[in-house]
Symmetry: C2
Subunit: 442 residues, 2 copies
């Protein structure tokens, strides 16, 4: 690698922690200035960045030919001038977003002269573990600095030269600002991952970006909170009162608009009362889009001549991430709810119905981050939701759930300001009164 001596990961994490304390006290303007400095430096340094990327690409090409690196990973690794331009635009776009930290969520006069504020603050230090995307580096850096968090980046070895060039550029830019250079750092090598995952006293949140296998590995190997989701086993339930005109477009869009992503549908549940009428046309529409169907016995019985493989019950848990769709006939909304509870991943589930009572029950009782009515599962996404940026998608119920924007990488603290107040004066027979009076936010 380009650096002769690597700093130990724990040392880097301690610097990140120290930087996070400086960041937490910086005003919004100082962090925004740092983002503009980074954007400008990326523009000024584009030749060196492209040269570094060319080295990564040259190293990757034989791996692709040998079948050791997938074409799609190779494509993501390639940093075209256009892609770099979009990355720089992305940094400036994050700069324009509202600051998620320093927001007063509540203000209460607890007692005469004693004021409580609940204020959002950065989490501290983020560790982001990703694969071969150069664009992830600038995007995560921008999100971290915007929110006042320090970040440690661990990218795949395929992207190492590019990452060094991008981080050198970012560090040179930060050196001219009030944001410490320790606020953004990179670690390299597979062993670095487990070292990071052990540093629970220094790292506040781990964000894995990559395959299910990566996310699961990380969730199982750290006590640090992990923001992410391992599976996206999403369902559409076609209720007996579904509008037939909506069924094919929504199912086809949910499956085929981008089959590899987590909010693509994997299983369609069809109410038995409507299945004979809608199934043949739905299967035709899916087959036209090259979707292979895996059906339960009742689905196959309704279409004995269609090429539908029998689905095994273990398979209801499967995230195909491909042009494959499982179909099951169910007898009721309750059966659909039970199926989703048993086999779903609490990510995104949709009902198609014109019956408001059925829709209301589905939206209330399905315990998923995103519950949808009469629209495509593909809408459950931070950008489509209008968050301006997406940090990740969470299927955890605690903290951030669903698509996570900048709000997901801040926490809050309580600030209490008095003038010598002691609890003793508010207890006993002559206790002063608590007021608990909500005060106006600015």
């Amino acid at each position: 690698m380009s650096t002769a001596v690597e700093t130990p990961v724990s040392e880097i994490a301690r610097s990140a922690k120290a930087a996070s304390r400086v960041l937490a006290a910086l005003p919004t303007a100082a962090r925004d200035e740092a983002l503009e400095a980074i954007a400008a430096a990326l523009e000024a340094n584009s030749t060196a960045i492209h040269a570094a990327n060319a080295a990564d690409v040259a190293a990757a090409e034989p791996l692709v030919l040998a079948g050791e690196l997938s074409q799609s990973l190779f494509q993501r690794l390639l940093l075209s001038p256009e892609k770099l331009r979009v990355m720089i635009e992305g940094v400036r776009a994050v700069r324009q977003l509202p600051d998620p930290s320093g927001r007063i969520l509540a203000r209460t006069l607890l007692a005469e002269g004693l004021t409580l504020e609940k204020i959002t603050v950065p989490l501290g230090v983020l560790a982001v573990i990703f694969e071969a995307r150069p664009d992830a580096i600038t995007q995560i850096t921008a999100l971290a600095i915007k929110s006042g968090n320090a970040v440690i980046l661990k990218g795949g070895r395929e992207v190492e030269h590019t990452m060094h060039a991008l981080l050198d550029t970012i560090h040179a830019a930060l050196a001219t600002t009030r944001v410490p250079t320790g606020a953004v750092s990179g670690v390299y090598g597979r062993e670095a991952v487990q070292t990071l995952l052990n540093l629970n006293h220094l790292i506040d949140l781990v964000i894995p970006r990559g395959s299910n296998a990566l996310v699961q590995h990380i969730q199982r190997n750290t006590i640090i909170p992990v923001l992410g989701h391992a599976d996206g086993v999403c369902h559409i339930f076609i209720d007996q009162s579904a509008d037939p005109a909506l069924i094919n477009p929504i199912v086809v869009d949910s499956k085929t608009q981008y089959p590899a992503v987590c909010n693509a549908v994997e299983t369609v549940l069809i109410h038995a009362a409507i299945a004979p009428a809608v199934l043949p046309s739905l299967v035709r529409a899916l087959e036209e889009k090259s979707v292979r169907i895996r059906g339960d016995a009742r689905t196959r019985a309704l279409l004995p001549d269609a090429p539908i493989d029998l689905v095994s019950s273990a398979e209801w848990h499967t995230e195909y991430s491909d042009l494959i769709l499982a179909i099951r006939i169910v007898d009721s909304l309750d059966d659909a709810l039970d199926h989703i509870e048993q086999y779903g991943s609490h990510h995104t589930d949709a009902i198609l119905t014109q019956d408001p009572a059925a829709a209301a029950r589905f939206l209330a009782e399905v315990d998923s981050a995103n519950v949808l009515h009469n629209c495509s599962t593909r809408f459950s996404d931070g950008f489509r939701y209008g968050f301006g940026a997406e940090v990740g998608i969470s299927t955890s119920k605690l903290h951030a759930r669903g698509p996570v924007g900048l709000d997901g990488i801040v926490t809050y603290k309580y600030r209490l300001t008095g003038a010598g107040h002691i609890v003793h004066d508010y207890t006993g027979p002559n206790a002063l009164p608590y007021l608990h009076q909500p005060l106006k936010l600015d």
Copy 2:
């Protein structure tokens, strides 16, 4: 025990999960009615409840005499008529609180006809592990039902008869309401704890209420999120610009008003510039309240004749939970910040100063759930903060932090309602526009 055959813990958890799905769909009024039914049943059944408590007390008395059960635990176990009355009042008080679930946090028109709502929803199933307090049973039950969560209670064996009587009463009350009886259940015996901690697919949050040892044991033995804090190592920093008149009352109150609790101060840091002037009087004030002082070398040098034991550096981590206070002289605000970062537990830390800049830095840079200025650490508490109820205090940064009210046992989901919307129509050259227009909340 009174029940001949115990239902297996996993069976109880499955019933709780099923009940949680029913609860999630019930309106506020149905849950409030259940709380009133419980309050009324507790009144009607008080004779049986007191008889059951008498059995627990009779079983505990020899243990107290044998020194196997502490007096304080025994006192908590005792259920006087007055205590039961307060417990019943507590259930009715929780009923009066605003419903934390079903609140629309945001509403956005994503595109023409496509509306996104972010709505609070119950977490699902809570497991609460506590010691010998009968009052915890009714309070936790009330908080759970109010927020739409099912709850599994595991109390210490000392309280088993009382717990059976209270749960029988609660179940009889629930049977007359729309809340399923499975929404509240009890498990018994030490093995039940580990069984609960393994049921991560059924239980959404574990709330330990008890000793540090209990909390730490639970945190180390489950992948279910735990709401709580192991340590409360709280600090007061007496800045060089502190108002001398505030120092003694605030330190004495923070240490002695209730020394056994987590928000009592354990370490006082004194700026070297003010220490000679304020230390003698502070130590006298503490000694008058029978507080034993443990000091660093500089503290002892300032008061060579005072009975101050030398504090070891490992001890800075200690939560005394007793009338013992550590004192350290520091040279600057920065040194105080470093000490708190290194030894604190991120619970509650206070600064005494008349210097607004020092206060601002302390409140921004101390990474604790509660940061206080010129008031007693004992104020960091859900009731004093005006939450109406306290579920616990969290030193985790994710999800709920600090004193946690009903808001801490709900999460949110995204509800998206369309009329056949598909993502395909919002991409490509003729893409329909996203609007991302915030809509009014009701």
